[in-house]
Amino acid sequence: MKRSIHHRHVAILTLTFLMLAACTGWAFTVPIIYETGSTAAPTLPCPVALSLSQEFASYQHSVHGWNYHADFGPALQKYASFVARSVFGDAQVLDSQSSRPEARLLLVPRVTSSDLAEHGGVALGIQWDFKDPKTGQTLFTMHVQCETVSPGMNPLAALRRAAGGNMTNLTSLTIQRFNASRGLQQLSGH
């Protein structure tokens, strides 16, 4: 009984807080707790370069009305780098000045969709373009999207759990898709 009253109080307080924040124009930032760990042996080893656009590297999602805001950028950078290293092993992240002449593929990810649903629903869609590093021509594309639902009484805590969980799920799904793709096996020379 005590537990249910406690949860109800927390929910009411959070909702009141959110409504006050909405009225004053203050936005809550949903922290994205995402750790990639170390990579195992690459499955399709070949030298690749990873190009992260400014839009991708600093991607944000805002929910108007409820004043939620999530800064996906840092997590997406970690995600892209970890996926590239896990699958291809020798992956170098390019900045605007650098190039990598020996790279066999240039990987360019971009966000196609993002969602933060109140009460703990988070989704992300990523399009991966695999380009010829010399000509910039797109040789292959793959789309990966993932959603994670982690409902809870406290909307912010639920969103935090779902956001971190979704990045982890997206990472596993992307690596799984890359490894299973015959097109990528051919492009990487396997």
Partner: protein, 123 residues
């Protein structure tokens, strides 16, 4: 639907479907098809190019609940020449925690109709 190269996306009912929300659904389906390796265009049915292989008709139902969200997306794939229905998908997301953007839902629809596109594609 093997061998279909050109897709054209339009609203099944065009009257009253020219506002931002309905155009967003239309472009989301067009973009999802293109991203999965099926070059697509979109617009009015009357403007469909004659060399279209697959006519894609959508019905989107938006709902207001403190904000506008896409409640359901129905997509039908027709052979543009014979008029035969080739595939039909209905996606509906009502609970708040399950609501997704039109882009996410459009991608789900395309991946349901073309599961082989999950392996990636050559543009």
């Amino acid at each position: 639907m093997n061998g279909m190269r050109k897709f054209y996306v339009a609203h099944e009912e065009e009257a009253g479907r020219q506002d931002d929300r309905h155009l967003r659904s239309l472009h989301a389906v067009e973009r999802a098809l293109t991203d999965h390796g099926f070059p697509a265009a979109s617009g009015l049915i009357s403007a469909m190019p004659t060399d279209t292989d697959c006519k894609v008709l959508i019905q989107d139902h938006w709902f207001w609940d403190t904000y506008w969200y896409l409640l359901s997306l129905d997509v039908k794939f027709y052979d543009a020449r014979s008029g035969n229905l080739l595939a039909s998908v209905r996606e509906r997301r009502a609970p708040p925690v399950m609501r997704r953007s039109s882009e996410f839902m459009a991608n789900e629809v395309v991946e349901a109709v073309f599961p082989s596109s999950l392996e990636g594609s050559k543009p």
